[in-house]
Amino acid sequence: MEKFEPVIVAFCCNYCAYTAADMAGSKRLCYPPNIKIIRVPCSGKVDAIHIIKALEKGADGVLVAGCLEGDCHFKNGNIEASKKVTYIKNLLDEIGIGGERVEMVLMSAGMGERFAQTAIDITKKIRVLGPNPAKSFTPDKASNDL
């Protein structure tokens, strides 16, 4: 069998996390390419269903990254996102997929290092956890609609 290469979806808010990821680039900080970023205006825009669908479609981990507490451009989007992530973690624990596949992190736009380190850490963690068990029982690719 091939070496397991996890696919990790990172929802990054435009104002802080996405900028931090760009900053990691400006500073040429290496992290594993397993992380694929989806830009959202605010981490509060990330829907529970987006996270669940990502896992259903075969992602091995999901990262939601927002601004530092108190720094959210939209006042409290990051707090809302954190609540949602906690809720989903519990849900995933219940159904046996494991809540540790989903993570919320906060960072400022200047924290390129933190973004890179987060990417390294979560990839390492998901590698240890192994492939997303949901992959084996979701052959239905037509579950595209909400």
């Binding site: 400006s26 509060g44 987006h50 939209f74 736009a109 924290m111």
Partner: protein, 1012 residues
């Protein structure tokens, strides 16, 4: 100092200084349709603020709050930014200045530089960067979001110029670059050269020159900053160890008569020391000890006192009232010994610290002084630009205005206020440029793509070697060509060059493409450019999607080309899948009503109204009392000795006589509706209190504050217990009484800095000292005691404190938990207080007890107005601005502005500046005929809405409401575009345009297809 003449000869404004003040001024001017030449002497704009890690009082990351402002300034059509440029000569006068500019060679072609950093990687020695602790600076752009977004070469330090030139694949290095001269004409000038940090090396007893671990606060900011030399790691410069005990020494170089120091107060240092200590504590909690040595804690700004209380109580920042005289290195422990004394002891205390931070203040640079001479602008005795009490941003020379720290030491919000005020004054002197309509006219009509099958064009940039050096861009383009709906896929070299943009445009038109994917750098910086390209090619600008294969791929995976290639494919696949579902969007554009509603007829309201009316707008000035003037009617003299009453008489006359101002006294606001640019406000107005509705485009709140009358120290019960405001009148009207006094006691902070009213009222120290000096003028033998907690004569007001001490006013400090005691014994007032130096109680019989009660927010009025207009207020009932740092005048809802003491307590001079600034901000909005709110707003599909109220509750800005038809409605004009409502809507009735759910899902599918 300046008349009301307007000049029409020239419509360019020269803004000198590209710091945050200059940027704000330039942006305001451009927004109000004036051409701006913005010059900055260093290699990129941003000034001091870009060197800070975080800013008080929100502890926000500076770059996050600043960079949108910076990129706006770089992008704006009306602004020409010239870095490395200074004024060589200036002649002419208001309306017609002729200025010779000199630009130093950068050796880089700004058009070609892609900021890839290759030159820096191979030739770091050519770097010319020094914001403090420069030897480890990561790049020679001053900070990652620098504008211009380009490098700069110090050619003298370069050993092999030919090799350097070859390194740059974009061909941007110009070894033959030379100094350039240029002459421009300008109608007016805004001076924003900023200040420099006082050179603490001259203060030899503090050891900055010899001990590496004694650093300045700016150097400390750089150490904390994520973009700084240590990447945000807190380490001691001497040995790289993490310090466990840090001391801040306040007033290093300020409030001092030592050689090399300045005598004024630098205004912002108390707050930034508190901030640095708190940020440090936040990171390391109890594993670090932070101590601040200070003389007076000057936290006088809006909400600053609560910030101080948080530092003390929640963060355990240790505050020691003492001025350490010497810092020495302890030869045994290698740590720094601080020597100081305290009131309570009569011996020297020595304490060791790992690191000492000197809170070094501001001073005017030699460069700014020379500039003033070239321009013919008068300076005061501290070398700041001379301004007038009642014309706060005008310099001595007509047509030249000043803002920021070159006017006096100040923090960012005050700089922003002055910048908007200076921009407004400068814009009044010149005419509006005719609408830049030719740009719009040249655009081809937008093609209707709704019936066309999806035809995607993919363009891959190689960005020189930045992308192409690691992955094969041609192969990537070939791969993209195999994806569904992709009709053409090409590698285009540097995509952002004007040549490539032109090519893309041509291909879109020729191949009738209706969707575009750009594989290249970050959409944060380049999306707008490609959106423009689409629009110019005749299709809607929202039909483009960028795949970030540079910043988030090749730049971070250079260690594994294979991984980078497959990730690039993933990212392209995601973008293609998502763009296929995009559809044309219309920016929300509203035409606006240009009338102005100003609420409050005090000094701020009248100045705002007058400024707007002079600019040509119709103004409704609503005042609830029977006459104009507000509290200023009761103030006779400013601390500088200016006659307030004659100024007020003139102002009231101008306002009431103005043909475009309708004054509505005895009038109350009762209702409000509409959206920005199209407001309707109802009032009841005298004499019969009939209802009347006013239609207007902007609303300016200048409702002021109240003179505080707390129940304390028998105020109101004895006629010889008075407030500072009463004393002010007494000094003019009852000089005989003043002459009869032998002893006067003033008590500071009465009714402020206490649990009922937490914040500092800012003006009371100034009023006490003003009145004390005036008493001594009338009655030089009077004995005056001022009982205080901290004397807060911020900035240049320190001079008056010094004079008062020299003239014999006795200042005695008291602690909050041991306030002075006042007894009335047989109609005689006896004040008892503790003298901290003698450490014993002292009793004084006094003829007059004068209480510094300051201002307090008008709770009732603010609460009513906030409810009617749905705008937020602070916990102590002042209006809450949109951003305490960068937008102190704008309220969070577009179209609302605040001026004067309704924002926070301030002096008349500061009120007038803010009134002009509010007029300026309103003018920016009203200069356009329409308001564009972008397309990224939430919209509701009413059939799906179950009116469950979840969106209503979750919106951070209270925008959604359940309408009369029973479903939720979102006013696009008020929507900020965060999408929180869309995420929580259980029925999925809400979609956020540009980030619709099906697009997000398509990205997931695009990424994950084939994973199963």
């Amino acid at each position: 100092m300046q008349g009301q003449n307007t000049f029409k000869n020239n419509n360019t404004v020269l803004v000198i200084g590209g710091g945050i003040g200059g940027i704000r001024a330039a942006m305001d001017l451009a927004e109000s349709k004036r051409d701006v030449v913005l010059i900055e002497k260093s290699i990129s704009s941003g000034g001091l603020m870009t060197q800070l890690d975080r800013t008080f009082p929100t502890n926000n990351c500076d770059l996050c709050t600043l960079s949108p402002n910076l990129s706006e300034s770089g992008r704006n059509l009306h602004i020409e930014l010239l870095a490395m440029t200074q004024v060589a000569e200036c002649e002419g006068e208001a309306g017609n200045f002729k200025i010779k500019l000199i630009t130093e060679p950068r050796y880089i072609d700004l058009e070609k530089c892609t900021a890839c950093g290759e030159c820096y990687n191979l030739f770091p020695e050519c770097v010319s960067f020094s914001p403090g602790l420069d030897h480890r600076a990561p790049t020679c752009m001053r900070y990652p979001q620098a504008i211009p977004h380009a490098y700069s070469i110090d050619i003298n330090k370069c050993s092999n110029i030919d090799e350097l030139v070859k390194v740059c694949k974009a061909g941007a290095i110009l070894p033959e670059d030379t100094q350039k001269y240029r002459e421009i004409e300008a109608g007016s000038i805004v001076l924003a050269p900023g200040a420099e940090v006082i050179d603490v090396d001259n203060l030899d007893s503090l050891g900055h020159a010899f001990y590496p671990d004694v650093i300045t606060s700016l150097e400390y900011e750089r150490i904390l900053s994520a973009s700084g030399p240590t990447q945000g790691k807190l380490i001691r410069p001497s040995d790289g160890k993490r310090p466990e005990k840090i001391a801040w020494i306040q007033c290093a170089g300020s409030r001092s008569i030592q050689e090399g120091a300045v005598s004024y107060c630098s205004n912002a240092c108390c707050m930034f020391a508190l901030k640095e200590a708190m940020v440090t504590k936040e990171r390391f909690q109890d594993t670090i000890e932070t101590s601040i040595f200070y003389m007076d804690m000057r936290t006088f700004g809006k909400d600053y006192e609560s910030y101080l209380n948080r530092a003390k109580n929640d963060y355990n920042v240790r505050l020691i009232r003492s001025r350490p005289h010497t810092v020495l290195k302890d030869p045994e422990t290698e740590s720094l010994s601080l020597m100081y004394t305290q009131d309570s002891s009569n011996s020297n205390i020595t304490e060791n610290f790992d690191m000492v931070v000197l809170s070094a203040g501001f001073k005017v640079s030699d460069n700014a002084r020379e500039l003033a001479v070239k321009l013919g602008v008068d300076l005061n005795e501290h070398n700041f630009a001379k301004t007038d009490n009642f014309n706060p941003v005008a310099t001595s020379k007509p047509g030249i205005y000043v803002c920021g720290t070159f006017e006096s030491p100040k923090d960012i919000p005050e700089t922003m206020v002055q910048a908007s005020a200076a921009a407004f004054c400068a814009s009044k002197d010149i005419s509006i440029i005719p609408d830049s309509s030719e740009i719009i006219e040249n655009l081809p009509p937008e093609r209707d793509v709704s019936q066309e099958p999806v035809k995607i064009g993919v363009f891959i940039c190689d960005c020189g070697l930045n992308i192409g050096g690691l992955i094969n861009a041609n192969e990537l383009a070939d791969y993209a060509g195999t994806l569904p709906d992709v009709k053409i896929s090409k590698m285009i070299g540097h995509g952002c060059s004007s040549e490539s943009m032109g090519n893309i445009r041509k291909i879109i038109s020729e191949k009738k493409l209706n969707r575009v994917v750009i594989g290249g750098c970050s959409p944060r910086t380049h999306e707008i450019k490609f959106q423009d390209t689409l629009r110019k090619a005749g299709i809607n600008k929202y039909l483009v999607e960028m795949a970030n294969i540079r910043d988030q791929d090749t730049w971070v995976h250079f260690d594994q080309p294979g991984g980078a290639t497959s990730k690039a494919r993933d990212l392209i696949r995601m973008a293609v899948a998502s763009v296929a579902l995009s559809h044309p969007l219309k920016d929300k554009v509203f035409s606006i009503n240009k009338d102005v509603l100003v609420i409050g007829g005090g000094v701020s309201g009248m100045n705002t109204a007058l400024s707007m009316a002079d600019t040509g707008f119709k103004v409704y000035l609503v005042e609830r009392s029977g006459e104009l003037g507000g509290i200023a009617n009761r103030i006779r003299k400013t601390i500088e000795g200016k006659d307030v009453q004659s100024y007020m008489k003139g102002l009231i006359k101008k306002v009431t006589k103005h043909e475009r101002i309708e004054v509505l006294t005895n009038s109350f606001i009762v209702d409000h509706s509409g959206k920005p640019g199209l407001f309707k406000t109802g009032l009841q107005t005298a004499p019969q209190m009939f209802y009347r509705q006013i239609e207007h485009g902007v609303t300016i709140f200048a409702t002021g504050a109240l003179a505080h009358q707390p129940e304390a120290y028998h105020l109101g019960r004895y006629k010889n217990v008075v407030t500072q405001l009463d004393m002010d009148a007494m000094l003019e009207d009852e000089t005989d009484k003043i002459k009869s006094f032998t002893s006067i006691v003033m008590i500071q902070c009465v009714g402020s800095r206490c649990p009922e009213n937490e914040n500092c009222a800012r003006i009371c120290c100034l009023s006490a000292i003003k009145n004390a000096l005036r008493i001594l003028e009338i009655n030089p033998k009077a004995q005056i005691f001022i009982l205080y907690r901290d004397i807060r004569t911020y900035g240049l007001y320190e001079d008056y404190y010094k004079t008062a001490r020299e003239k014999g006013v006795i200042f005695v400090r008291y602690e909050a938990d041991e306030p002075p005691d006042v007894q009335v014994i047989e109609k005689e007032l006896k004040v008892t207080f503790n003298d901290p130096i003698l450490d014993r109680k002292i009793s004084v019989s006094t003829d007059c007890l004068c209480l510094s009660t300051g201002l307090i927010a008008d709770e009732e009025s603010t609460e009513d107005l906030c409810r009617i207009f749905r705008i937020p207020k602070t916990s102590d009932n002042y209006f809450l601005e949109d951003h305490t740092k960068l937008r102190p005048i704008d309220l969070p809802v577009p179209g609302f502005f605040v001026a004067g003491t309704a924002h926070a307590p301030k002096t008349i001079k500061e009120c007038i500046a803010q009134a002009q600034a509010a007029a300026g901000r309103a003018n920016c909005m009203l200069s356009k005929d329409t308001l564009n709110l972008g397309a990224g707003v939430a919209s509701i599909e009413k059939e799906l809405c179950a009116a469950c109220l979840i969106c209503v509750r979750s919106c951070p800005f209270d925008v959604p409401f359940i309408n009369a038809d029973g479903y939720s409605e979102i006013d696009p004009a008020k929507c900020h575009g965060c999408g929180i409502c869309a995420a929580v809507c259980p029925a999925k009735a809400i979609q956020l345009k540009q980030y619709e759910d099906d697009q997000v899902m398509a990205k997931l599918t695009g990424l994950l297809e084939g994973v199963n």
